[in-house]
Amino acid sequence: MRIKQLLIGMTASVIAVSSYVEMAIADLKFPMLVYRTGAYAPNGIPNADGFVDYYKMINARDGGIGGEKILHPECETGYKTQVGVECYEKNKKDAMVFQPMSTGITYQLIPKATADGVTVYSTGYGRTSAANGKVFKWIFNAPVTYWDGASIAVRHILKNNFGNIKGKKIALVYHNSAYGKEPIRTLQTLSKKHGFKLMLLPVDHPGQEQKATWLKIRKARPDNVLMWGWGVMNQVAVKSAASIKFPMDKFIGIWWSGSENDVLPAGQGAHGYKSLTFNAPGTNFQVHADIKKFVHDKGQASGDGSHFGTVLYNRGLFQAMVQVEAAVVAQKIHGTSKITPAMYRDGMENVNLSAKRLEELGFKDFAPPFKNTCENHGGSGLAAVQQWDAKAKKWNMITEYMYGDSDVVQKLIAEDSSKYAAEQKIAERCG
C-alpha cells in the first residue's frame, strides 16, 4: 500500500514539474530576492515591505512604468547563497534587475549576471570596487560604498576630536564574512594616514554570541567602536555595549546597523547610539502619502504594514525608486516602453537623480542627489550620521550629508577593480 502511494506521489510530482511552463511576460519583471525567515529576517522584512509597497504604489498610481506593469515575484533566500543562486536562475529570464540584499549572493551573481547580461543593483553594499563602471559593466552600487562609509565614520570621529585622532584606538566589530571584512582595508589605510590604532573584532554568523568581543572592548577601552553588522548581530551588539556602559555616542554603526529593530531591544541603554545613513527616516514625504493613499488604505500593504516609515522600509523605498527610475530613463533613451534587460542597463547607467527629480518623484530631502555615469557606478558617496533618541524612539539626523576620503577610496577602488579585471580578463570600457 505504502509503495503504491509513494509511486502515485512520485508520478504526480514528476508530471507537475514537467508541466511547468514559463509564463509569457509582457510586463517589466523586477524579481526580488528576500529573506523574511532566518537570522536576518528582522532586517529583511521591513526592507522587502518597502520594495513591494513602492512597486504596488507605482502600479496603482501610474499604471506601471510608461504603461508597463511591474511584476515583482518574491523568492525567499533565507540569506543563503545556494538558495540565492537557485532564485536567480529561476527568475533571470527577462529580469530587469536583481537586488540580492546580501553581500554573499552579490559576489555570487557578479560573474553570472555579467555573463547573462542582467543588471545587479547592490544599493550601498556588495563589492565596493563595482563602483568602477569601467570594469563592472552590469553591476551598480550607488549611492555610496562601504569604503566611503568607513571613511565617513572616521571623518565624523575626526570632527568630534577637533581633527586629531593620533594615538586614539578605534575598534571595528564586524560580521565575520565578506560583508564585514569590506571596510578593513580602508580603515587600515586611514589608520596609517591619521595615526589611530585599529582593533579588529570579528563576530561569527549569526552574531548571537558576542560576550568575548565586548569583554575585549571593556579591557582595551577603545575610544570609538565602529560596527559592520546585520540581523540579530546588531541588537546583541547594541545591548552588549549598553550593558558594559560603553559611551553610546562613541559607537557608530554602518547604514545596515542603524534601524529601529537594532536599538529598540536595548531600551534606554541604546540612547545616543549613532549610525550612518543615506536616506532619511520618517513618514513626512510625498511618497509616503501616496503609498498610504494607493496601497495601505486599500488594505494591500505588504506584510502587516507595521514597518511603514522605519529606516529599512524607507531604504527599500529608495532602492525600489532607483530601480524604477532606471526603467523610466531606459524607456526615454530607447523610445519604447517595452525595454529589454540590455536597455534597462543603459537606463541604470544614466540615472540622474537631481534634487529636482527627487522632488518630482516624491522624495524631496529624502536622500542626497546622485547620478550614475559610465565610469562611476558608485553614486555620490554621500552619507550622514543619525543618532537614536531612545526617549522619543526615533532617529535624528545630526550631520549634513558628507563625503568620505575620496583620495583613499578611489585609489583602493582602482586597485581592487584592476585586480579583478586582470583575473577575469575584462577590458576596460568608457573610452
Binding site: 547563497t81 536562475e89 565578506a178
Partner: protein
C-alpha cells in the same frame, strides 16, 4: 513477475560477481546512463543545471564519501563541511599556483589532499567511538572552517576572504567560471561521479570494504579475526575524505564559482544535510547515497514549486511550510523506515518479484 530472476543462470564467477547480476537491472542502468549521457546534455538549461542536476551530482559524491565512513565503517562524522572546504581551498590554491594545470587533475589532487587531512582527523577514532567520535569530528568541522577564515594565505590575501574561480577548460570548452555552458559543467560532474561511484562500489566489495563492515558490525570481533583496526579505520577516513574533497572542489569550482568559507561550508549548510542524505537514503548503500542526495536537493525546490508556482502561496508562507514539512518528514522517516529510501526500493523489488501474486 516483472522482476524475475528465475532462468538467469550464472555460468562463471565473473558473471556471478557482476555489479548488476540481473538482466532487468542491467537494462535499467543502461537506460539511465543513456539518458544521463546522451539526452540530458542536449536538453539541459541553466536552471536545471544550477538548481538541480549539478548540486545533486555533487552532493551524491559527498554522500557516497560520508556513507563509506559512516554507513560502511560505522564511524559517525559531522566534519563533512570542513573536509569539503579542504577540497575547495586546495583547488583554489593549486589553481592559482599552477594556472596551466588541467582542472580534472587539480580536482583529483584536491581529493588526495583532503584524504591526507582526513587521516589526521581520523586518528582519534582509534580511541573514541560513537557519539564521542561525532563530537571529535565536529571539532574538525569548526577548526577547518575557522582556519580557512583566519589565515589569509588560504584566500590569497583577498580583502573579503572570498575565493573566486577562474576559467578552466576541458577539450577547449570552459567547465568553470560564469561562461561555462550548462552541458559542460553537468557532463564534467557526471563523468567524475559515475567513475568514482564505480570505484567506490568495487572498493566496498573488495577486501577493504569487507574489513570496514567487519569493524562496523563489531570491532573487537573483527580485530580478533585479524582485521587491523588502525589500517581499516584510517583507510575509511582517507577514502571517505577523498570523495568529500572532490565534492568540495566541484562545489566551489564548478557549482558556485565564488565561495566564502563560513557561509558555504557551515555545519547547517553541508554537514547536517549530507548526514541527513545518508540517513534518508540508507546507511551502507550506494543507491541510498544517490536517493538521499536527490531527496534533500529536490525536496525544497519541489515544495517551493508546488506551493508558490502551483498553489500561489506567498514565498515566505511557503518557506515556513517547507521548514515544517522538512522536520516532519525527518521524524516520519526515522520512525517508519529507519533503513531509508534504499530499503523502500528493495521492498519494492521484492513486491515486483511476486506481483501479481502477493502472499
Amino acid at each position: 513477475m516483472i522482476y524475475k530472476e528465475t532462468g538467469q543462470y550464472k555460468s562463471s564467477y565473473k558473471s556471478d560477481h557482476a555489479i548488476f547480476p540481473l538482466l532487468q537491472d542491467k537494462i535499467a542502468f543502461s537506460t539511465l546512463m543513456f539518458i544521463a549521457f546522451l539526452i540530458i546534455p542536449f536538453v539541459i538549461n541553466s536552471y536545471w543545471e544550477k538548481a538541480i542536476l549539478v548540486p545533486f551530482l555533487i552532493f551524491s559524491l559527498a554522500a557516497i564519501g560520508l556513507n563509506i565512513l559512516t554507513g560502511y565503517c560505522g564511524q559517525v562524522s559531522l566534519g563533512t563541511g570542513g573536509f569539503m572546504a579542504v577540497g575547495a581551498f586546495s583547488t583554489y590554491k593549486i589553481m592559482t599556483y599552477f594556472p596551466d594545470m588541467n582542472i580534472m587533475i587539480i580536482i583529483l589532487i584536491s581529493g588526495l589532499i583532503t584524504a591526507a587531512v582526513g587521516i589526521i582527523f581520523g586518528l582519534p577514532s582509534l580511541r573514541i567511538k560513537g557519539f564521542y567520535l561525532a563530537v571529535a569530528t565536529l571539532a574538525s568541522q569548526f577548526f577547518l572552517v575557522w582556519l580557512f577564515n583566519k589565515v589569509p594565505w588560504f584566500y590569497n590575501y583577498s580583502d573579503t576572504g572570498q575565493i573566486t574561480v577562474s576559467e578552466r577548460t576541458m577539450f577547449g570548452i570552459p567547465v568553470t567560471g560564469a561562461e561555462a555552458p550548462s552541458y559542460a559543467t553537468y557532463l564534467f560532474c557526471l563523468v567524475l561521479v559515475v567513475t568514482l561511484s564505480f570505484a567506490a562500489k568495487n572498493l566496498i566489495r573488495s577486501k577493504m570494504g569487507r574489513s570496514w563492515m567487519a569493524i562496523r558490525d563489531m570491532d573487537i570481533a573483527a580485530e580478533i579475526i585479524g582485521v587491523p583496526p588502525l589500517k581499516t579505520k584510517l583507510s575509511a577516513f582517507a577514502i571517505s575524505s577523498f570523495y568529500i574533497g572532490v565534492a568540495g572542489a566541484l562545489y566551489f569550482a564548478v557549482f558556485l564559482g565564488a565561495i566564502e568559507v563560513t557561509e558555504s561550508f557551515d555545519i547547517m549548510t553541508i554537514s547536517f544535510p549530507v548526514l541527513f542524505m545518508i540517513i534518508i537514503g540508507g546507511l551502507g548503500s550506494m543507491l541510498g547515497s544517490f536517493l538521499g542526495a536527490a531527496f534533500v536537493v529536490t525536496l525544497p525546490i519541489g515544495l517551493k514549486f508546488l506551493m508558490v508556482d502551483m498553489v500561489g502561496l506567498s514565498a515566505v508562507t511557503a518557506k515556513h511550510f517547507e521548514i515544517t514539512i522538512w522536520g516532519l518528514l525527518m521524524i516520519i522517516f526515522l520512525i517508519v523506515e529507519p533503513h531509508g529510501l534504499a530499503r523502500l526500493w528493495s521492498i519494492a523489488k521484492e513486491k515486483l518479484r511476486r506481483w501479481p501474486f502477493p502472499y
